[in-house]
């Protein structure tokens, strides 16, 4: 029973999660501020997908 109270999350998992959260936060900041250009998860959504043929116009607007 004494072992049951000794459980703790391994240090490498904590470090891994912290790094992952920092990277996700960084990605969110890049997307929100627009530094990353016209890109983001919304680009993969059906409403913004190729069915609405945005890519041709997207490509055009990038260089217009």
């Amino acid at each position: 029973m004494s072992q049951r109270s000794t459980y703790s999350t391994p240090r490498w998992v904590k470090v891994f999660v912290i790094i992952a959260l920092v990277l996700v936060l960084l990605a969110v900041v890049v997307l929100v501020t627009g530094v990353g250009g016209d890109h983001g998860p919304g680009r993969h959504m059906p409403s913004g997908g190729p069915s609405d043929t945005p890519f041709v116009s997207l490509v055009a607007t990038h260089h217009s």
Binding site: W12, R43, T61
Partner: protein
């Protein structure tokens, strides 16, 4: 799983996983060639090749890697949710596969433009391709490291199971 079956399944899983990494590197090479080349014929050719590599190499390898990974986890002592390294590997593999499947139609759309529209401006999406392939490759390498080193650490679920 018997020892022989386990070895065979592991060989298949490693083959698909390393193949996935190799295909993404080939994809990255095309993206970089498209970005850096001054040759106007390279750009449409690269998009068409990226679509082919994506649908006929990267997607099948990703799905096969995910499937064989599930078989390996469930058929061995490691399990899917008992150890942090298997759990993180599963989450990252599913994430990479979902993003890949969501992204490939976009690549196909530009590849169609590259085939049909002579002289179309195709450089716009290359930054996104570099980001997708670069981040994807990084995620796959992290998964590979976790799978080779298998760092110790039970999840709360695995810890409970061990003490039952």
């Amino acid at each position: 799983m018997t020892r022989g079956v386990r070895k065979f399944a592991l060989t298949v899983h490693i083959t698909f996983s390393i193949g996935w990494i190799g295909a993404v590197i080939a994809y990255l090479a095309l993206v970089i060639a498209a970005i850096t080349s001054q040759d106007t014929q390279i750009l449409p050719a690269a998009w068409i090749a990226m679509e082919l590599i994506g649908w006929y190499a990267i997607v099948p390898l990703a799905l096969a890697s995910l499937l064989t990974g599930l078989v390996m986890s469930l058929g061995t002592k490691w399990g899917l949710f008992r150890h942090y390294w298997t759990l993180i590997t599963l989450v990252l593999t599913i994430l990479a596969t979902v993003v890949l499947l969501e992204h490939m139609p976009d690549v196909s759309a530009i590849a169609d433009v590259a085939r049909e529209a002579d002289g179309a401006d195709l450089a716009g999406g290359l930054g996104g391709e570099l980001l997708h392939a670069g981040v994807g490759l990084t995620v796959l390498l992290v998964i590979q490291v976790l799978n080779v080193y298998k760092p110790r650490g039970l999840t709360p679920y695995g810890w409970r199971k061990q003490h039952e």
